[in-house]
């Protein structure tokens, strides 16, 4: 698993390694370049000095080998070798180690010094400079050296003023050794530095990441169902305040949701247990003694009524769950408002009349809304049933519709509201029953309006409610029209 500390450490270490390698490469090649530059200069200076040993005499060109055997040439660790010849490539003198090496190469300029790497006949690597010069004239008449003289080379056919080429070689083993040692030291010091740097960075990163670790530890202390915990923003670093604030908000939302779910589960269990207790007790009491057929019939009627209530409750709960989980997709039908309302009212007119309620319906023909026919019918049924149940004796129920521009409004109002203005929105909370009353012989569970709201929202419509205790209770639907 990736860790913040590990990722930071790997990133910083890789970065530092690249920087160190880049610095090392630049440093190595700079030093190498400087060393070769100095080496080449000293080689050229030596070549220029050796060039003084070539003179034009009256009898021709004289190369004084004795003079050329100066101390630098005798140096054993980095011996030097030379070739002297004409610009035509004729060699006047060549050290034995240079037997296979040409004096001149095609395409190389003659007028300026040329530096090259060469492999000598014994296999050693050497650096060379080829220097072209005009020998100094010596007008003093001297006797020509004897032919057998070993330290002098006389070139008689050389013309006066002819250019002479001197190619000087020096073995580079010392420089190579120095550069190798330097490279090893550079690599070792780089690796060592990287190691020390890594240790320091590890400590710094650990220390830097400690607040995150502390935060994680605090979060880890939260119990499974304790959502009251909050991270104190003043206890975390400035950079972590947004994290803490965000976490607190998430925790609050989860807590609210958890609390709602727990309350819902508890209410659902309560609502199921109570009719279950009624069912069980009715049967148990009936079985405590022998009873008449009529008495058993009454018990069966009562238990059937309880079972129907439980069926309604379970159906309601399932409907809520289906719409909350998006399992149900509502259809898009064209629905006549007036027709739907009249059909629903048929089922409640007896109850409404029995309570002496004044009912008025103000819906015009041709007013249509778009929605799921079945859902809409259940919505209207629940709202009318609600009004018929809660309207006060000799009160009124008013159903109005109107609207335009693609939106239709339907309001169902009744007098004798038992809901405070402040509690109006609570009618959409699951299992909320106003003053706690179950009412209607226990048939009302506080699920009707929450389900209505789900259905209405699923159809892309809005639902609003307003209420005054003892006054009117009005539910208004705003629906997509045609």
């Amino acid at each position: 698993m990736r860790s913040l500390t590990g990722t930071l450490f790997r990133g910083v270490t890789l970065g530092a390694s690249l920087v160190l390698v880049a610095v090392g490469v630049v440093l190595f090649f700079s030093v190498r370049g400087y060393v070769f530059y100095q080496f080449d200069n000293s080689l050229l200076e030596l070549a220029q000095m050796l060039a003084l040993s070539v003179e034009e005499k009256s009898y021709g060109l004289e190369v004084d080998l004795e003079e050329m055997r100066i101390e630098e040439m005798q140096e054993t660790k980095t011996p030097a070798y030379l070739q002297v010849g004409s610009t035509e490539g004729k060699v006047f003198y060549s050290s034995s180690a240079l037997d296979d090496i040409p004096l001149l190469r095609d395409g190389e300029p003659v007028s300026e010094p040329v530096y090259r790497w060469e492999r000598l006949s014994d296999g050693t690597r050497a650096r060379s400079v080829r220097y072209t010069f005009t020998p100094e004239e010596d007008d003093e008449v001297e006797p020509e050296p004897p032919l057998e003289a070993e330290d002098v080379v006389v070139v008689k056919d050389a013309g006066r003023g002819d250019l002479v080429v001197l190619q000087l070689f020096r073995v580079s083993s010392e420089i190579d050794r120095f550069l190798n040692i330097f490279l090893v030291m550079l690599v070792l010091s780089g690796a060592g530095s990287l190691g020390v740097l890594a240790l320091i960075m590890w400590g710094v990163i650990r220390k830097g990441a400690q607040p995150v670790t502390d935060l994680a530890a605090k979060i880890g202390q939260i119990c499974d169902d304790d959502f009251t915990f909050r991270i104190k923003e003043e206890s975390v670093l400035k950079e972590l305040i947004p994290v803490a604030a965000g976490f607190n908000q998430v925790l609050e939302r989860i807590g609210d949701s958890f609390s709602r779910e727990r309350s819902f589960t508890s209410n659902a269990a309560h609502e199921l247990r109570t009719p279950l207790a009624g069912l069980k007790t009715s049967i148990e009491v009936a079985l405590t003694r022998e009873r008449s057929e009529q008495e058993y019939r009454e018990v069966l009627k009562k238990t059937l009524s309880i079972v129907n209530q439980m069926d309604n409750l379970v159906t309601g709960l399932l409907a809520l769950i289906r719409f909350e989980s998006g399992q149900e997709v509502p259809g898009r039908d064209s629905i006549s408002l007036k027709g739907s309302i009249e059909k629903v009212l048929e089922g409640y007119c007896e109850r409404i009349a029995e309570k002496g309620v004044d009912l008025s319906v103000n819906c015009s023909d041709g007013q249509t809304v778009v929605g799921d026919r079945v859902l809409f019918s259940r919505v209207v049924d629940e709202l009318v049933k609600n009004a018929a149940y809660y309207v006060d004796r000799n009160g009124w129920i008013r159903i109005d519709s109107g609207g335009g521009a693609g939106r239709m409004r339907l309001s169902i109002a009744n007098s004798g509201s038992q809901v405070n203005r402040e509690d109006a929105e609570k009618v959409f909370d699951r299992f909320w029953r106003g003053n706690g009353g179950r009412g209607d012989a226990g048939a009302r569970f506080g699920l009707g309006l929450p389900i209505v709201k789900k259905f209405v929202e699923a159809m892309g419509a809005n639902i609003d409610v307003r209420s005054e205790i003892g006054g009117e209770f009005v539910v208004t639907l705003t629906l997509p029209g045609e």
């Binding site: 009624g278 007790t281 706690g436 179950r438 226990g442």
Partner: protein
Amino acid sequence: MKILIIEDYDPLRESLCQGLVENGFAVDAAGDGEEGYGFVVTGQYDVIVLDLRLPDMDGLEILRRLRRKGNPVHVLILTAKDTVQDRVTGLDLGADDYLVKPFEFTELLARIRALVRRKYESKTPLARIGNLEVDTVARKARRDGKDLHLTSREFAILELLILRAGRVVSRDEIRENVYDFAAETESNVIDVYIGRLRKKLEKEGGSPLLHTKRGFGYILGERDG
């Protein structure tokens, strides 16, 4: 024995009433908190069976008010709330027992009887006076080893008298604790039942146990105290 049931779910309340009445209890019932509390403050009950989630006034609020006034009536909470915290809250507020819905009716009866016995400081369901034995669970009475065949109401009167043995029980107390409030009760009906009970108790020539304290009521004991 008089029981008050405060329960808002009609079918359950009705069945409880029926079951308790059939087991010899006098029962009052209320469907919401306000009405139930009204019964509590005006009536005398041996046990109150109390639901918690009630309209108008919560069951716990009824209990709180009741205990604040120093009312010692035994309260059995009968609710769907089943968490430990719910039970602790109910019992800490002064409930004497706690039963979760759904429940066995026989268990509820047993618990109510236990609370009644606790009220009358009786440890066992078997009450004795001389050679008279009354089993409040089996609802049977024997004298001198012989079964007394009592009707439900006769047994209820005997149970009341034996639980208050040695003390005078007035007609009003009998009416309140044996007959349902709604029952039609003529003033001499109790005398009739007392007469029948006395006859059955002394049927086999046993010594008088049920005595009349003229102007006060009745007392059960071996000698007229």
